[in-house]
């Protein structure tokens, strides 16, 4: 029996009125890009730890509460573990250190780089969650449209990309809902997904995937009908009724984030020699 599962989906929005909620979506999109660049432009463990600390500050600013964050990150545990192990086993450099009379399996350098990679991923995940927790799919699409609209001159179909992006974000929760309904319904007739030999467990998945896929297709069909009924035609110019406001708050936030990224990218040169000379 499972404890009630959190119902927030991947890409889910957590209603609220935090500082991050009130930022312009363009600020948040650019800020996220900048933080991602900052997280990945340095390979050192220290820089990765600083990225995580900065992402944790953003997390606190979302006002979503630690339970939602803990649950949001917990879903990535397998991915993080696999990445860590892959790096540990396949990215060998340097000789393994001696622990007493035995030689350890991994060099200290590989362990550090694997840890750093995992931390960088964690910070990237946290930054992305901070964006989706505080931005509705609609705001996100608007922000994307406005940021990308110069590309229209290069004949990039920005409107269509934006619509696809919004539909995808709206659809993930629906897919999850269909799956949950199907899991519940099959359990309610006595299907026991957690037991039995692995082969038959895989076959039980059919009982899950067929109805869930059916459900998703049915909803996609309804959505298409609804969009057509409301006059959506691909390729036609779109109107928007809620203009975005780029305020002083956005300017400050953006400058801070860009400054942080610049520091992250240059700190190996400036800061770490200083730290290592201290130790």
């Amino acid at each position: 029996m499972s404890r009630s599962i959190m119902d927030l989906s991947i890409g889910g929005y957590v209603p609220g009125d935090s500082f991050l909620h009130r930022l312009d979506p363009r600020t948040k999109l650019l800020g996220m890009l900048s933080m991602l660049v900052g997280a990945f432009c340095s390979e050192s463990l220290e820089a990765a730890a600083i990225s995580v600390a900065a992402a944790a500050m953003l997390a606190a600013l979302t006002g979503a509460g630690w339970r939602i964050w803990a649950w949001g990150l917990w879903r990535f545990k397998w991915m993080l573990l696999i990445v860590f192990l892959m790096n540990l086993f396949f990215h060998s450099s340097g000789a393994a250190p001696h622990i007493g009379p035995h030689q350890g399996p991994f060099s200290g350098e590989v362990v550090r780089s694997s840890l750093a990679l995992s931390l960088r991923l964690i910070s990237a995940i946290m930054v992305s969650l901070a964006l989706t927790f505080t931005t509705t799919p609609r705001e996100m699409t608007l922000g994307f449209w406005r940021l990308a609209s110069p590309l229209k001159r290069l004949r990039v179909p920005v409107d269509e990309f934006g619509m696809i992006m919004m539909l995808a974000m709206r659809f993930i929760p629906l897919v999850q809902e269909e799956l949950r309904n199907t899991i519940d319904a099959q359990k309610a007739r006595g299907v026991d997904f957690g037991h039995g030999p692995i082969v038959s467990r895989a076959r039980n998945l059919l009982a899950l995937l067929v109805p869930a896929l059916h459900g998703v297709l049915r909803r996609a069909d309804h959505l298409a009908i609804a969009m057509t009924a409301r006059g959506y035609r691909p390729g036609q110019p779109r109107t928007e009724y809620r203009p975005l406001r780029f305020s002083l708050r956005d300017l400050i936030a953006l400058l801070l984030l860009l400054a942080f990224t610049a520091l992250q990218c240059y700190q190996p040169v400036f800061i770490f020699p200083a730290i290592s000379s201290l130790t």
Binding site: D7, I68, A188, A207, H214
Partner: protein, 286 residues
């Protein structure tokens, strides 16, 4: 099997900003072999409540006991003891043929032999009024909506559960299929070996089947008792009145105006009979 729900409270996403209180302090008892109706508007917590009967959800507070034993202690067999037909069950059909879909759980999760499985499938189909000879080898997706619903119900009945729970069994059914479902439930009630729970936002068609009626409003019990008592008690409540079956309201209002109709004259036929008797005895016509 006796169902005892004791001070049940359920919160979704407890302790987060997404917390929803779906049930608050709900208690009731259904004796073995009796039929309970759960009535309430959309979002009143009906589905949340029945998901506690087979362990799909666990209580935030309170307990659910089956024959005096906490559902949490039943383990994996619980899903076959308490058969729950969730909303729109026909959407969950998946196997290649109707026979295979109905027998899926028996084939995969029990040690029953082929003959016993066939027997149980045939019995379940008879109960729901599905012609197994005609549709057994067809794809469930090729059936009519009513037949699909019956197939899904049969898929739960093959487990021969001690408790049968149906969530909104009337939604999306045409009148003939609806009559079949009522007949099925009536037959099971007469047999008397199963406890039945019927969940609906419109209890009219099921009223005559019920031994007791639980009315939920915003996650709380607003009435529990015999259908006659509950409907009479809530008929004067301007909000809850709207959820009651129209026939029950009519009975109540007639009784209130001095017509001697029984508070459980819940079919048009019985009500008409009583009114005819009444008309024969006095000058006042209905």
């Amino acid at each position: 099997m006796e169902i005892r729900v004791d001070k049940l409270t359920h919160w979704y996403n407890p302790g987060t900003s997404l917390q929803v209180s779906a049930l608050e302090d709900v208690s009731f008892i259904v004796p073995a072999g009796k039929v309970l109706g759960i009535l309430g508007g959309t979002g009143s917590g009906k589905t949340t409540l029945i998901k506690h009967l087979n362990g799909l959800l666990t209580p935030t507070q309170g307990r659910v006991l089956l024959d005096g034993k906490d559902v949490e202690t039943y383990g994996p067999g619980l899903g076959r003891k308490v058969g729950v037909v969730l909303q729109r069950p026909e959407r969950q059909l998946f196997d290649e043929t109707v026979f295979r879909d109905i027998s899926f759980v028996l084939r995969r999760f029990t040690a029953l032999d082929q003959a016993e499985i066939s027997l149980r499938v045939r019995r379940a189909c008879e109960l729901v009024g599905l012609d197994l000879e005609a549709v057994g080898d067809r794809s469930p997706h090729a059936l009519s909506d009513g037949e699909k619903r019956k197939t899904a119900i049969a898929g739960v009945l093959v487990n021969e559960p001690d408790v049968l729970v149906l969530d909104e069994p009337a939604v999306g059914l045409d009148p003939p299929s609806m009559a079949d479902v009522i007949r099925l439930l009536d037959g099971m009630k007469q047999a008397g070996d199963r406890t039945i729970v019927i969940v609906s936002h419109d209890m009219g068609p099921f009223l005559t089947l019920l031994d007791s009626l639980l009315v939920l409003n915003a996650g709380r019990v607003s009435a529990f008792g015999s259908p006659g008592e509950v409907c009479a008690g809530l008929s004067d409540d301007p909000v809850m009145r709207n959820y009651l079956p129209r026939l029950a309201l009519l009975v109540h209002d007639l009784a209130e105006r001095g017509f001697p109709v029984g508070l459980d004259a819940f079919t048009i036929e019985t009500l008409a009979e009583q009114l005819v008797v009444h008309a024969g005895h006095s000058e006042v016509g209905p």
